[in-house]
Symmetry: C2
Subunit: 351 residues, 2 copies
DNA sequence: CTGAAAGCGCTTACAG
DNA sequence: CTGAAAGCGCTTACAG
C-alpha cells in the first residue's frame, strides 16, 4: 500500500547496503551508529558497500526512533551590517564544533518572532536559541514543557526555567557615564533606540543612573532605528542647537548610531573629542577604522555563546540522567556578562 | 519492546489528540495536512483539542512517510562584516517566504566545504545552496544523483545538472577598467584576493582584458585575505613606490580592500581621486559613508536569490511531474547577472 | 557476533 | 466523511 514518494527518487536505504554487504539491515545500523557489538571486518565490509552505493544513514529516520535529533532552532533577524551577523557567526561555529545542526528561523520583523517560536515546535529540536525579538511567557512555557531548552541571547527569557544570558548593558551604560563625567563633561546626551529595544533601554538606564549619581541629568534622544542614518540625523539635530545648550558628551547606545553621528559632524566645526566626547557600544569592525576610532564597548560574545552551548549540553545531560549544575543568574533570571571598554580616540581617556 | 526515548519527555502524539477529540488518529493527520475529506466541524474539534494539548504535527515523522522534508541545506562561512552576511540574510528571507526551512552548515574555512556537503546528505533535504568554497564534481554528482538540487551562489557548480548563478564579475572588472581608462588613467593597479578566490580572479581577468584592449597592462597585487587590513597594507606598499612608478588608478576587487586602502592613504599626501582613482566591488554599507564614498559595483543580490529560489521550486515541480523550463546559463554552466556601477567620489566620473 | 522483529509518529491508499 | 492498516527508514532490546 502507500506509494507516496516520487518514484524517480528511488531512495536507497540501509537495506540496500545490507544486501550488498551480505548482512542483516540491523548490522548496517550498528556499523554506522557505533552502538552494539559488531566484528571489525564485517564493519569494514559494510562501510565499503555503503561507500560504493553512496549511502549514509537517514538522520530524519534515526531521529524518529531515538526520539532525539541533534537539531537546534535559531531565531534571527536581518543580518545586514549588524551586530547580529557576528552573533550568528559565532553561534554557528560553536554548533558546528558540537555537531549540532542549526535550523534557522528568520524574522523579518520582531513581531514575527512569536510565530516562529511556535513553528519551531514542529521540528522537535533539542530547543531554541532566540537572538531576536521578545520571548512571551506562555510561549516559553510551551517550549519548556515539552522538555526542550529555551536560551535567550541578549534578552530576557521571561521564564524561570529558561536560560538567558546577556551583556551587562546597564553596567556598560554606567561605565560610559563614568568615563564621560571623569573627563569633566557636564552636558550629557544619550542616543537611544526605540522604546522596545531592551539593550538600548538598559544601556540608557545605566547611563542615566550613573550620571545622576554625579548630579547630572542627561538628555535622551530616541530613534526609531539604531542605524547610521539615525546617527546622522542626531548629529544634524545637535548642530541646530545653540552652542551654549549643546551637549559636550554623547553616549550612542550602539556603534551604528555612533558612526553615523561622527559622519554627521564632519562638515561642522565641532571636533571630537575636543568639543565633544563620544562613546559607542558593540565595537563593530568599522569602529576601529581610521576615520572613526570610536571608544566603545565590546560585548563578551565568546563568553555568551559558550554559555549557551554549555546550557544546551547540560540540558541534554539532565534529560539523560537528571544531573548537572547551572550558572547562577541574577534576580531577573538573566546571567549578565560585563562588556569591555575599548578606549580609542573619541574620548580624552589616558590612552 | 524498544523503549529508547527518554521517558521524561512523555511525547504527545496525534494519537493523544485523536483520543481527546474522539476521532481516529488518521483524521487528526487529515485535519492538519488538509489532504483528504474531513467534515468542517470535526476539523474544528480536532484543532481545539490539539491547541489544548499543545500538539502540532511532527515534521520529522511526516517527512519520513512523504519522503520529502521542506528542508534546504545552506553552506556558509564566517559572516563577520562581510558580503556573505547580506547573502545569507536575503536567502533566509526568501526561504521564510516560501516556507522552506534552512538547515545551516557553517564552514570555518573553505576546505571544510566538501565535508559539509557530504554531511548534508544525512538530512535528506530538497537540496543544497552553496555560498562558500568550491563544489567538487564528484560531490555534485553524489548530490544530484539522489534527486536533490544543487545551487551554487557566486561560484561555479562544476556540474551540468547543477544550478549556478553569479554576478558577472568579468563584466564588472571590464567595466571598472573602462571607467578608469576613460578618465585618462594610465598606470592601473589591481588589488586582488588569493588565487583560489573565483570572484576576485574573474574580476581581475575582466579588468586586465579590458585594460589590454586599451593598450594598458595593469599591475596585480595578490592578497591572502580580502580584508580592510590587507587593503591598508597595499596602501603602504604603494606609498613606498617612487612617484613616477606609482599607479594612478586602483581597482580593489572588493570593497573591504578598497576601504582599507583609502584609510591607508589618509596620512599621505596622495588624494583620491585627484592623484589616484579607486573603484571597489560589493557596495558595502560602509562604502557609502562620508569618509569613503567609494565608487563600486553593487551585486544583483535580489535577482540571484530569486533565481535560486526559482530553481528550487522548479526542481520540485519537475520532481513531481517532470516539467518546467530552466533559465539559460552561459557556456560554463553559470548564469551571469550584471553588477551595477555606483558612481561616488573616488572616481572623477561625471557625477 | 548476528538476525528477526517491534516500534518511532506520522500519511495515505483502501474500504466502508 | 471516517477508520483500520500498511509502511516510511531507521534503532534497539531480545534471542540466538
Amino acid at each position: 500500500m502507500t506509494r507516496p514518494r516520487s518514484d524517480k527518487l528511488n531512495t536507497i536505504t540501509s537495506r540496500d547496503v545490507a544486501r550488498a554487504a551480505n548482512v542483516s539491515q540491523a548490522l548496517v545500523s550498528r556499523a554506522f551508529s557505533g552502538n552494539g557489538r559488531i566484528a571489525a571486518d564485517t564493519r569494514e565490509r559494510i562501510f565499503k558497500a555503503a561507500a560504493e552505493i553512496g549511502w549514509q544513514p537517514n538522520a530524519l529516520a534515526a531521529s524518529m526512533v531515538t526520539g532525539d535529533a541533534p537539531l537546534v532552532a535559531v531565531i534571527t533577524t536581518r543580518l545586514s551590517f549588524d551586530w547580529r551577523a557576528q552573533v550568528l557567526s559565532h553561534l554557528l561555529k560553536a554548533f558546528e564544533e558540537r555537531h549540532l545542526q542549526p535550523l534557522l528561523f528568520h524574522a523579518e520583523r520582531d513581531e514575527e518572532v512569536d510565530r516562529l517560536l511556535a513553528e519551531t515546535i514542529s521540528w522537535r529540536t533539542r530547543g531554541v536559541v532566540v537572538t531576536a525579538g521578545v520571548v512571551q511567557k506562555a510561549r516559553a512555557e510551551a517550549i519548556l514543557s515539552r522538555g526542550q531548552f529555551l536560551a535567550a541571547l541578549n534578552r530576557p527569557a521571561n521564564h524561570e526555567r529558561a536560560f538567558a544570558i546577556a551583556t551587562d548593558n546597564r553596567l556598560g551604560g554606567r561605565h560610559a557615564a563614568t568615563v564621560l563625567a571623569d573627563e569633566g563633561r557636564q552636558r550629557l546626551l544619550v542616543l537611544a533606540g526605540p522604546a522596545d529595544s531592551w539593550a538600548s533601554r538598559s544601556r540608557t538606564e545605566g547611563f542615566v543612573a550613573a550620571a545622576r549619581d554625579r548630579g547630572i541629568e542627561p538628555e535622551i534622544w530616541c530613534n526609531d532605528a539604531m542605524s547610521t542614518d539615525a546617527g546622522g540625523a542626531c548629529a544634524r539635530r545637535l548642530l541646530e542647537l545653540s552652542a551654549a545648550g549643546r551637549p559636550d558628551a554623547v553616549f550612542a547606545t550602539n556603534d551604528a548610531l555612533g558612526l553615523g553621528f561622527i559622519d554627521g559632524l564632519r562638515s561642522s566645526a565641532l571636533g571630537i573629542p575636543s568639543d565633544l566626547s563620544l562613546v559607542g557600544f558593540d565595537n563593530l569592525p568599522a569602529s576601529a577604522w581610521a576615520p572613526y576610532r570610536l571608544t566603545t564597548f565590546e560585548q563578551p560574545l565568546d563568553t555568551m555563546v559558550a554559555a549557551v552551548v554549555g546550557h544546551i549540553e547540560n540540558h541534554r545531560q539532565s534529560e539523560l540522567h537528571m544531573a548537572s549544575p547551572v550558572p547562577t543568574p541574577s534576580a531577573d533570571g538573566v546571567i549578565y556578562c560585563p562588556p569591555q571598554l575599548i578606549v580609542r580616540n573619541t574620548t580624552r581617556g589616558q590612552k
